[in-house]
Symmetry: C2
Subunit: 373 residues, 2 copies
């Protein structure tokens, strides 16, 4: 299985140390524990058991993973110097049913033991009850760091893109009159699981007919009819990183005239956005380019969301392709473009994923986006 590398994790920790002054950095966001240690904990287990924390000491670079006891052997896969399991329950011995309370006490003790005077922490993640005298908030720095993807991160994103592609092929093959959204979701998910060789955590918009005219929503047991379309916007989490791309597919070729016109407009808008993807381009200019092309076709007023966004450990994340963004594209950004429009007799969106390179961009996703191939 593809993983983050020890070298990549070490380089990211060093980048954090080099850019924010603190004696110890305390990381609680599970995505960032993964980012700095390679330990991916599926979000389905996460909230059930208690929190974990990574401590990085500035002077020595020494790393300690404070993990809740049920994580057990999995914690030993982390690239850290030491694993400390705080006690609550280990499937044989119950110390306390209050795993979270036990975690706060253990983290407080661990930080005190480090002797740190200045603590780097994540606002919104460090729990109340951990007493720190001087703290420095790491959030903005981490958001910025995550934009420039390292080689090991890109390998995982490419894998997520590949798995998503298997799902998209299966969904397109499954769509026909009488089939339900959940059956299409299921065909997508089966193909993605088999392509990955493990269970993929899959979410996405799987909406047909009138639901497609509103743009999004999880799959239901709604069965589709001739003349309708289905929007398939899938975002699998594969080893902690994501792909996120979309096709809108006609159930039968007899869709509305507006739906056909929109398909042309979306492909032109996507191409217009793609032509802007290079380091230095303001994110709002990408939005403007996409919108302008939709405007030419009369669809701008129905384009009600972003033109795209960054993705990686989460999504949507920086950079955001909206008018109010003051962000500028960087080499190493991974982004999506996703023009869409939704009206009384049409609804569609198409989306591709891109890596921003030194000179422009590389399109990562290769799926079919034609409404009627």
């Amino acid at each position: 299985m593809l993983k983050l590398t020890p070298e990549g994790c070490h380089a990211r920790r060093q980048r954090l140390i080099d850019s924010v002054e603190a004696d110890v950095y305390v990381i609680n966001d599970p995505r960032h524990i993964f980012y700095f240690t390679g330990l991916f904990i599926t979000p389905l287990l996460l909230s059930a058991w208690g929190f974990n924390a990574l401590l990085i000491e500035r002077k020595s670079g020494r790393t300690t993973l404070l993990a809740q006891e049920m994580l057990g052997g999995q914690a030993r896969e982390a690239y850290v110097d030491e694993v400390v399991l705080y006690r609550w329950y280990d499937v044989s011995v119950l110390t306390t049913p209050d795993s979270f309370g036990a975690g706060v006490a253990a983290l407080d003790a661990q930080i005190k033991a480090s002797g740190a005077r200045m603590v780097g922490y994540e606002s919104g993640w460090l729990p109340h009850g951990v007493s720190i005298t001087n703290g420095v908030d790491l959030n903005v720095r981490l958001i910025d760091m995550r934009r420039r993807k390292d080689a090991d991160e890109l390998a995982l994103i490419r894998e997520a893109v590949r798995v998503n592609g298997a799902g998209h092929r299966a969904a397109r093959a499954a769509i026909q009159p009488g089939v339900s959204e959940i059956e299409v979701f299921d065909a997508f998910h089966s193909a993605a699981n088999l392509a990955f060789g493990e269970a993929v955590h899959l979410m996405g918009d799987f909406v047909s007919g009138d639901r497609a005219r509103r743009g999004g929503g999880l799959a239901t047991d709604r069965r589709m009819s001739a003349g309708e379309v289905m929007i398939v916007d899938a975002f699998p989490i594969v080893n902690g990183y994501r792909a996120d791309y979309t096709a809108t597919i006609a159930v039968t070729p007899d869709v509305t005239a507006n739906q056909r016109r929109l398909d042309v407009a979306l492909h032109e808008a996507l191409a217009a956005g793609e032509a802007m993807l290079k380091p230095g381009t303001p994110a709002r200019d990408v939005y403007a380019a996409v919108r302008a092309r939709l405007d030419e076709h009369g669809f701008a007023e129905y384009f009600t969301h972003h033109a795209g966004h960054g993705l990686g450990l989460g999504h949507p994340e920086s950079p955001f392709f909206v008018p109010s963004s003051d962000q500028v594209l960087l080499a190493g950004d991974v982004v999506t473009l996703e023009p869409g429009a939704y009206g009384s007799d049409f609804g569609a969106r198409i989306e591709h994923n891109y890596l921003i390179t030194e000179t422009g961009c590389e399109r990562l996703s290769q799926h079919e986006t034609a409404l009627i191939p």
Copy 2:
């Protein structure tokens, strides 16, 4: 779709108010926001965007959901008096990419505005940076409250049990020589999705051959052979509540003699545990009854984990069937029993789910547990 009811949520909030003295109760654990408001946020989206908080004012009973902006319309499904969306990003306007920092500021302001002097909070969930002068930790009270299931909770658990049953039937039908674990997982997941009519978040142990002798692990592309067994221990999250039950299935009837002996022992041990399930029984006595029966068959030393545990919004949770538990069964507990043993030429576990009633128990799960039916 089955949901928690406004009446159930109101009764639970009142029970909290009646049992812990505070001016305002601040709930951050997404499972508890669901428990008190009916708003289920899938764990896959959760960590991506920022946190949410429920505020319950003691005097008025007034409820406010402070939700991050991307939650938008979904937040309005919550049974609360008011929804306050804190700003960061809404797919059109970006205020800040730091959703978590924005959430902490908004929650701090909301608590200040309430004028509360004593704040009930969840240790491990309330974030650092929210300034409270006097606080009372709600964790232990919430852990206790969750044990006695209300009617609306039981309806969701029964639905999870039903969905899990569809998966188990499909898995049993799929298991044969040459089939991979991930293909069995996939057959399980497809059947569960179709039974539910929406995508089920499914986790579980899907292990065959030598992997079954270690007891657990996610499905891989390992293909099974004649004479092996597969352990299928599945825990779907269906509308926020869980089922969690297991079968061990022979790939072909020619399994080892120890494997056959173990199957007999596990079924006797399960029956022995089941006979203990009624209000007032110490959890450790349930463990002892299960273990004693495995001991009679010579498998006690290979029984390396709990005899079962509570389940509901999470698992494992109280009560815990282990020797170190001082918990006692209550009417309204939902529990599993799961005897298992793992050795050099055998590995198996069977598991059922039960509701503790006033007079005994009701077995909720109805799946086949025979090794060779």
